[in-house]
Subunit: 205 residues, 2 copies
Amino acid sequence: MGKGEETRERVAAQAAALFNVHGYAGTSMSAIMEATGLEKGGIYRHFASKEQLALAAFDYAASQVRRRFAEGLAGKAHAADRLVAFLEVFRGYARRPPLHGGCPVLNTAVESDDTNPLLRARAGAVIEEWRALIESTVRDGIARHEIRPEVDGARLALFLIATMEGAVMLTRLLGDPAPLEYAYEHLRQHIESAVRQPALDAPGG
Amino acid sequence: MGKGEETRERVAAQAAALFNVHGYAGTSMSAIMEATGLEKGGIYRHFASKEQLALAAFDYAASQVRRRFAEGLAGKAHAADRLVAFLEVFRGYARRPPLHGGCPVLNTAVESDDTNPLLRARAGAVIEEWRALIESTVRDGIARHEIRPEVDGARLALFLIATMEGAVMLTRLLGDPAPLEYAYEHLRQHIESAVRQPALDAPGG
């Protein structure tokens, strides 16, 4: 990575933290200048506009989110265990969000839905990645007799994502981990009782 | 209502619509002047600051939300039917949100959680109202043998609110009513199968 590219990456990361706390509209260029220690011209040398910086910052934030999910799912082979691991990543946001300010997908989705089509598309793309991950996990799990054949992966995906993101919102709003704990516990039980295929050849079965 | 009070109410309502679409930080005083047809001095005659206007606007938005829930629950006597009606109100947000721009409680919660303690407290108070409504519905329902005695009203409340608010976020982000439909359907089935007390004296029972 050249020095210019390094600076670009650093500015995107520092801006991502500001945007995730204060919102895109709530973060001024002067706040970004202060956080990065760069003059306005120095920032505009790397990004054509605040909008371009916002997109690069979201890409950085999304990479942090992706890393969390990759770490959480690493080593989980059974499809039902992978679904529970997906929930556990969100549960961990109560103590340690992927970025200061909470979930950048939730924050960006809510701010951009009516106002910023490019950011909205970026947030939507992460949701689509999660949806594809859960759908393929369910599809492969059905093929391997790990998931009950009647499970609808598309429905399950949206239900899991909605519940955990809503719980992130409540946990941050109320300053209380209970919403994330309850959501996790309910969905985990749902996966164990209605999604995981009971083993046919269990000892004594 | 005097003329001054009428103007104050109208400005709060018009500002609420702008804030709910663009966010508090994303709404300039000049946008509010344009929407209300008032000069800056005319707005500041009624509100000491943009912050005061934001609080009054949230109070207006919350009153619209409260009206939706009051309408949705009107005439529902059975505790389990009241819980389903609570979900139906959120489900209706897909076609007709209480305010242009979606759910003002979700939007305000996400924008204010790190940055604006007064707005955050206002959004938190609506969540507490919903939580108290569901808890008392469950408590009364258990006493009247309409709800299973093992149901934990506090847990159920946070789970229902998290899921439906997360589904509102997804439905708006993706421009697709499916997340709200799936969330509603899953939670309704949960209420019917695990929350509603089966009638003991059903015909043939």
